[in-house]
Amino acid sequence: MPATTHAVRYRPSAWMRTSRWIRSHLIAAYGILALLYLFLPIAVVFLFSFNKPVGRQNSTWNAFSFDAWTHISRDPTIMNALGISLRIALVATFVATILGSLIAFALVRYRFIGRSSTNLIIFLPMATPEVVLGASLLALFLNMGLPLGFTTIAIAHIMFCISFVVVTVKSRLQGMDPRLEEAAADLYANERETFRYVTLPLVAPGIAAAALLSFSLSFDDYIITNFNSGTIVTFPMYVWGAAQRGIPPQVNVIGSIMFFGSLAIVIAAQLVGKARRKA
């Protein structure tokens, strides 16, 4: 940091020191304010999961209650929607992670004709607004006469997850030191052994991150799903529908569990990574 290098050469005046102190703490204060802003809605979601709402709308505070937490599954429609969303997210994550990782390997490890058009095909779905992705798939399914439902939702989710998997795995592969694999080859490992014992363990965190990203993108998607769902109701679609009539506090409970659950997973993954680096 500049502060230390400058101190060697000259003593900053009192004015400079104060102004630097204010500046460095100003940015910290701003950062903390921004984080508080990010967490404000989460705090509201968590708080209102303990509310006992009057009527159907859970938006004004009435009385403290554990009711929603102890009776999460009172409404079977919520549980059904949650189950459908989980199943779709698992299928989409599984397929998209495999397809996307293969593309990432090809893009980073091989020079081939059609590379830049491949990059373009990967980039385009991310630059296309979700309404357009949803609407165009619906146009295709309608023209093909394919019935809308679980399959069409899964197809759509796999499609938009692939690009995100490619980008995530690709950046991990590019960050890898190629000398590690060259070393394995120097030590008489054949191509398959090098891949199995050197490349794969090194890319694994990238693939895991891509899978996590796909899962949350799929689980959370409303817009594309809404176009291709037919009569099936996923969890975000349930929330959307309930928003008009009044959202039960159970939805806040599920939102809180999703938040704390994924926070725990990410922090655990970071701690494991740290422990491994130390070992």
């Binding site: 500049p2 500046r23 004004t60 090809a106 490890r109 630059a127 609407a135 590019q174 959370d220 999703m258």
Partner: protein, 299 residues
């Protein structure tokens, strides 16, 4: 999206060239086939739909015939020019606000957070694990008419409508909030890559801290600014969840129009034409913007 080829990997790639030419294609085929069938072909399907003729004009329930009715575009644009313009206006405002909020935050995490860096990054992303819709719905509670926030700002005399919810302010606030991590993360990753010695060198050459920031840090973080603004602007322009849940009936965006035309009214050609206009506009804006910013390696 942020795809700059590494120089280190080039040698390794060279070593593999010519060994088995078919391998990259075998790796690509399944994924690219999926994207072709379920992304590129649907776009053609959409284009075809946008040119269809109504069997009975004015009655979408009667169905549509394949055709080449370019007038669908002009009539759709005439009918929904307002929502179309509004989408880009709201998205631009949200992008600028997100940049103002995210830049200092990313700067703080990249340069001033010390050993808490990774933890703070987790905190930036964490709120987005709770569902998009649930978060947006929570803003409805926060910005409610009798809520603390609205009362406070209203008492300062800053609200022309004396309320926030169901006004453009709420929609822009929701868009800004919901796409903030897409702005923060690319900014962080480009700030984090900056060699601190360059900023120190500016100081050694008697640049004031702010001059050093303006002439060294900002230009070097430009790729992050470009990536972040695009990742915020694109989804914001097509979004309709915020407009629906937080806005009033006069704040509808183009996404709302496409959604209701496709799903409720079932006027497929109009909806398809609007989708195409949206897509093409965004691609043009992105291309011009990236060319201007001079960071073409981003794509």
């Amino acid at each position: 999206m942020v795809a700059v080829l590494p120089s280190g990997g080039a040698k390794f790639e060279q070593a593999r060239v010519g060994r088995r030419k078919s391998t990259p294609y075998l790796l690509l085929i399944p994924g690219l086939a999926w994207l072709t069938v379920f992304f590129l072909v649907p776009l053609f399907s959409l284009a075809q739909t946008s040119l269809m003729n109504a069997r009975q004009p004015g009655n979408p329930d009667a169905g549509f015939l394949p055709g080449f009715n370019v007038a669908n575009y002009s009539s759709a644009m005439q009918a929904y020019l307002e929502q179309y313009a509004r989408s880009f206006e709201y998205a631009a405002m949200a992008t600028v606000l997100a940049l103002i909020i995210a830049y200092p935050l990313a700067y703080f995490i990249a340069f001033r957070s010390g050993r808490f860096k990774n933890f703070l990054l987790v905190l930036v992303v964490a709120p987005f694990f709770a569902s998009f819709l649930i978060r947006t719905y929570a803003w409805r509670t926060i910005l409610a008419d009798d809520g603390f926030v609205t009362q406070f700002i209203n008492n300062l005399g800053l609200l022309p409508d004396h309320r926030i919810i169901a006004t453009p302010i709420a929609v822009v606030a929701g868009l800004t909030y919901n796409f903030l991590p897409f702005m923060t993360l690319p900014l962080y990753s480009s700030l984090e890559k900056i060699d601190v010695r360059l900023i120190e060198a500016a100081g050694d050459l008697y640049a004031k801290p702010f001059t050093g920031f303006r002439k060294v840090t900002v230009p070097l973080s430009l790729p992050g600014v470009v990536a972040g603004t695009l990742l915020t602007f694109i989804p914001a322009a097509g979004d309709y969840i915020n407009a629906q849940l937080l806005g009033g009936p006069t704040d509808r965006m183009i996404g709302n129009v496409i959604d209701s035309q496709f799903i409720q009214i079932r006027d497929y050609p109009t909806a398809a034409a609007m989708s195409f206009v949206l897509l093409v506009t965004i691609l043009v804006v992105v291309t011009v913007y990236v060319r201007r910013a001079g960071t073409e390696e981003l794509l």
